[in-house]
């Protein structure tokens, strides 16, 4: 997914002289071809996250379209004020590509996890927040960022994630994709949680009876309110899934929308995500997703229990 996103940046840069790339201190060999062919638009500025955001802002003020790449938590948490003031207040077309969103860096511990990145990015006016499900969707998405007027945060997953997106569904920033038609329950997921949601929905159906739709909310901000509200009227319960803290992410966004718009007419909502405490285990991303009940079997159990409470 990371390679796909950076390859897309390279392709855009080849055809559009406004595109520049800024990295912090990325892995050796990153975008070598870009550096070789367009050295004047390739910047590797070292471990200076605050600086590269401001620098990107200055370039964007002058008509360039900077794509900035480093580890997700450092491009959001470390330089939050620069993102807020330099990018969002000025509403500049800078794209932040965050490696290892969520629990990808599980073995490296809580300093490297990005489990509140969506919450803090979506709290900022003008920011767009997107978490694609797989590399094919990433390839459809990144070129669409070229001419967006404001800043965009792109959350990358681990890479090698199963391909579940489909070309025929297309991709439009801010428009959720119905991956599976809703039955009694609607699962709303973002990023790679969508593939877990699809597996859980298939398992529930196979086990008999419970039919779950899956809405892939690749864009968490702006939230596709129309899709959520339309489907909310057709189902008896909604379950949100995110590889993210339960504070302020997708589940919060959906809950806020339903509460504000539908009030007591909103279907019951179950939010699945990471509890409000720092992770205390290492292992792999899959290990931690299992620890937090975010793998398909555990999701299916949570949905089943939720359904039994609300479907009577």
């Amino acid at each position: 997914m990371r390679k796909t996103s950076l390859d897309s940046v390279y392709e855009m840069a080849r055809h559009d002289p406004r595109v520049v790339f800024i990295g912090s201190d990325l892995g050796a060999g990153t975008l070598d071809t870009f550096k070789e062919e367009m050295p004047e638009r390739f910047f590797m500025e070292g471990v200076t996250e605050q600086n590269i955001i401001g620098m990107a802002a200055g370039l964007a003020m002058e008509g360039f379209i900077p794509y900035v790449n480093t580890i997700a938590t450092f491009i959001t948490r470390r330089c939050f004020e620069q993102v807020a003031v330099d990018l969002c207040l000025h509403n500049l077309p800078v794209r932040l590509i965050g490696n290892g969103g969520g629990l990808v860096y599980a073995p490296l511990g809580p300093t490297h996890l990005a489990v509140e990145d969506i919450a803090i990015m979506r709290s900022l006016p003008n920011m767009t927040v997107v978490a694609p499900v797989d590399k094919e969707e990433m390839a459809r998405f990144v070129p669409q960022t070229l001419d967006m007027p404001g800043p965009v945060y792109i959350r990358l997953a681990k890479g090698g994630d199963p391909i579940v997106s489909r070309a025929e569904n297309g991709f439009e920033i801010g428009k959720a994709i119905e991956m599976r038609a809703p039955g009694d329950i609607l699962l709303i997921a973002t990023g790679v949680m969508t593939n877990r949601a699809l597996d859980a929905a298939a398992a529930l159906e196979a086990a008999g009876g419970l039919n779950c739709g899956v809405l892939h909310m690749h864009t968490v901000k702006p939230l596709d309110e129309t899709a959520v509200l339309d489907l909310a009227g057709k189902v008896k319960g909604i379950v949100t899934l995110e590889e993210h803290t339960l504070v302020g992410g997708l589940g919060s966004a959906v809950n806020d929308l339903l509460g504000d718009r539908l009030g007591r007419d909103a279907p019951p909502v179950l939010r699945l995500g990471i509890p409000d405490r720092f992770p205390d285990k290492y292992g792999t991303q899959d290990d931690l997703l299992g620890y937090y009940g975010l793998q398909p079997d555990a999701i299916a159990n949570s949905v089943r229990e939720f359904a039994s409470r609300h479907l009577g």
Partner: protein
Amino acid sequence: MTSEAHIRLVGDDLDERSLALRRLVVRGLDGGKRGHLGSAFSLIEILRVLYDDILRFDAKQPRWADRDRCILSKGHGCLALYAILADKGFFPAEELDRFCRFDGMLGGHPERAKVPGVEASTGALGHGLSIGLGQALAMRLQKRDSRVVVLMGDGEINEGSVWEAAMSAGKHRLSNLVAMVDYNKLQSYDRTAVVQDLEPLTDKWRAFGFAVHEVDGHDVDQLRRVLSSLPFEGDKPSAIICHTVKGRGIAEAEGNPTWHHKSKISDDEVAAMYAELD
């Protein structure tokens, strides 16, 4: 990299232009009944010389592509910037009467989207040099000969982000970038030497790859001479340490930390300031 600093402190007379710009600052203070007076008054001669003699701009086309960019990174000194921008016709001086007011254009920190001539929204400290670095790189990529000047406060350069930007500017050998420090030796709480000593300040900038001059930041001739010799070295960014006096022009405010920011300014205080700047 010579030092031209013959540091004069209080006592020298300000000429009519310097007094007139300070009166515009007081007009803003009166309009908002508040403001960072000390931080603005140390900047007046620096901004005056930049806009009178050095920078290329067109007040009728604030975003003219070939202008020089001047970022007031120490955004709290904005009354001085507003004064010179009003003086140059970027907007009517009457806007100063609505400084900090609910529907005013001029806030307590400058905003790019609101104020013609303001290059960056600043106030959160330590942002301007990185933005200026990006603009200077853009000028180089676009093959424009525009210069980028970033004005910073001495307290501001406590921020680590300033030194991240300085490292990058040195690496890129951006001779079109000028970092100016308004070194009035007083930050909000106390003297910089007490709160966070910056010395040896010239050596610091030099170590980060800048060609450095020191000047008396209230000496118009000296400022003009030094700024006219930019870039100091053809393949380095320039830094100018401007030795200034916080609150310069108002005896009670000079070197007085309680004048960093003033609120609830009375009509009598305003009248006294006008009298002193007459």
